[in-house]
């Protein structure tokens, strides 16, 4: 049901963890629905220098978090904000229909973390 790419990111998620001195942090989702995603950003000169995530959820949620962090690491905030769940799904070689909603979470978490950074830096 999951693509090899999904299973790879699920089994060996990239960028898992926390950034102690993150300057943009956000958590989306809620445990009631079974998925929570937390993103940590380290932004320097408008560029995402480092990114880490933690996710409570299914393989769809974990793999989308993982690949999304890979996709925006090193990108400018503007570029990162343009990341859509569609692009994430494509990068994973697809997701089962009933898992599309998990991919939305990654997009939301990144946007929320960028917002948090901007708020903290009065942008």
């Amino acid at each position: 049901m999951y693509s090899d790419k999904v299973m790879d990111h699920f089994a060996n998620p990239r960028n898992v963890g926390e950034i102690p001195d993150a300057n943009g942090v956000a958590q989306v989702g809620n445990a009631k629905c079974g998925d929570i995603m937390k993103m940590y950003l380290k932004v320097e000169d408008n560029i995402i220098k480092d990114i880490k995530f933690k996710t409570f959820g299914c393989a769809g949620a974990i793999s989308t978090s993982s690949i999304a962090t890979e996709m925006i690491k090193g990108k400018t905030l503007e570029e990162a904000e343009k990341l859509t769940n569609k692009a994430v799904i494509e990068a994973l070689d697809g997701l089962p229909d009933e898992k599309i909603h998990c991919s939305v979470l990654a997009e939301q978490a990144i946007k929320a973390a960028i917002d948090d950074y901007r708020k903290k830096n009065n942008q």
Partner: protein, 392 residues
């Protein structure tokens, strides 16, 4: 990679002895049992022998066994068949909140068509309350349908007592015994059961066959109308190899019931203890004593069930979960919610069910490996952080 199957409640492999008995009925004795020539008579005889083996397993008479395509059809038939037959007498059905969907969705469907249904709540171990049951009976009640044993948490209901209450009030009692069959002693007469659903593939028989026990004298509409098979109660050319296989599976189950229960309970309890001792923030769901011999169901906090299952699958262990993420629906298992688990804990549920071919070393393996998987998943869980930080 060695495969370790921990999902006997979902389905079981066919016992080799069962398959062997089935084989002749595909190509050689393939006749239609309704025919009068010798090919047909052979098939007919085989079907009748299977019927008596199933009757024997549950203390019924052969004539009270009607073959179906499985447990779901048996549940649908029992409930819709009684509802349609007795609708002029009453339109009220009593069931529980933790029934299998094959009962619940039928009841919900009937609600759309003029029936009223009481869904009895259960306590934290999954038992219905007999007083609740009595209080919910009205003069419109035509059927009580309470499952024998639950497929998720393994809790075994006080069936005999429910049967007595039904009998006192002259109401038909149906029980879904799909999980109980072959796993606990059943006697339909002692237990005052009027209708009982069974399924072959849960007792090492083939998929696609089951049966409904209908006590002599019970009035019920057919569900599949057509030919005169199954004494005009269930139409369709008989699935002869399937029925023969189900019969053999029932025979094996009858002959080894006590031994099977003893052996399985021992393994189960070892697994439960191993998990509870080696993992923090974990709870056992279902009653510790009155539970199916092969059922282990735990909630592991801060992790999500599907992620657990896939990690187990990667090391060859097949299991099951009540997480919403595995069902494709938005809510976690209705059974886990009914016993009072909060959504987030229900999501972290894991069901490991064991059976005839489970070895002690498989149990040891899970006890050893599961904690590692849980650690790995908790390490990436934003929920677990807080606990570790002490601010839970």
């Amino acid at each position: 990679m060695e495969r370790r199957y921990f999902d006997y409640a979902a389905t079981t492999p066919v016992d080799p002895g069962v398959l062997e008995e089935m084989l002749p009925y595909f190509k050689d004795s393939f006749g239609n049992p309704s025919s009068i020539y010798s090919y047909g008579r052979e098939a007919k005889k085989a079907v009748e022998e299977a019927r008596s083996k199933i009757a024997n397993l549950i203390g019924a008479d052969s004539k009270e066994i009607f073959f179906t395509a499985g447990g779901s059809e048996a549940d649908n038939w029992a409930i819709k068949g009684i509802a349609m037959k007795l609708k002029d007498k009453g339109n009220h059905i009593i069931t529980s909140k933790i029934e299998h969907h094959a009962v619940l969705h039928v009841c919900q469907y009937l609600e759309k068509h003029g029936f009223e249904v009481t869904y009895l709540p259960v306590d934290e171990n999954g038992f219905i309350n007999l007083k609740d049951l009595k209080n919910s009976i009205t003069n419109k009640t035509i059927l009580i349908s309470i499952m024998f044993a639950n497929n998720e948490i393994g809790t075994i209901q006080p069936v005999k007592e429910i049967g007595e209450i039904a009998k006192e009030h002259n109401i038909y009692f149906h029980t879904d015994a799909v999980q109980a069959l072959g796993n606990t002693k059943i006697n339909v007469n002692d237990m005052n059961i009027d209708l009982m659903s069974m399924s072959s593939h849960k007792i090492y028989g083939p998929k696609g066959v089951g049966a409904l026990y209908i006590k002599k004298g019970v009035k019920i509409d057919p569900f599949i109308h057509g030919g005169a098979q199954e004494r005009r109660k269930r139409a369709g050319t008989e699935n002869v190899p399937g029925i023969v296989g189900f019969g053999k599976a029932a025979e094996i189950a009858s002959n080894s019931l006590e031994e099977h229960i003893k052996r399985t309970v021992k393994l189960r309890d070892k697994l439960i203890t191993g998990i509870l001792e080696n993992i923090d923030y974990v709870r056992l769901n279902g009653d510790p004593i009155k539970r199916l011999p092969g059922n282990v169901n735990v909630s592991i906090e801060f992790v999500e069930g599907e992620a657990l299952l896939l990690n187990l699958d990667m090391i060859g262990v097949s299991a099951s979960s009540g997480s919403a993420c595995t069902s494709g629906s938005l809510d976690p298992s209705h059974v886990l919610l009914a016993i009072g688990l909060p959504h987030e804990i229900a999501h972290g549920s894991l069901r490991l069910t064991i059976g005839r071919y489970t070895k002690e070393k498989d149990i040891d393996y899970v006890i050893e490996e599961l904690p590692k998987i849980v650690d790995k998943l908790r390490a990436m869980s934003p929920l677990y952080e807080k606990v570790k930080g002490g601010d839970k």
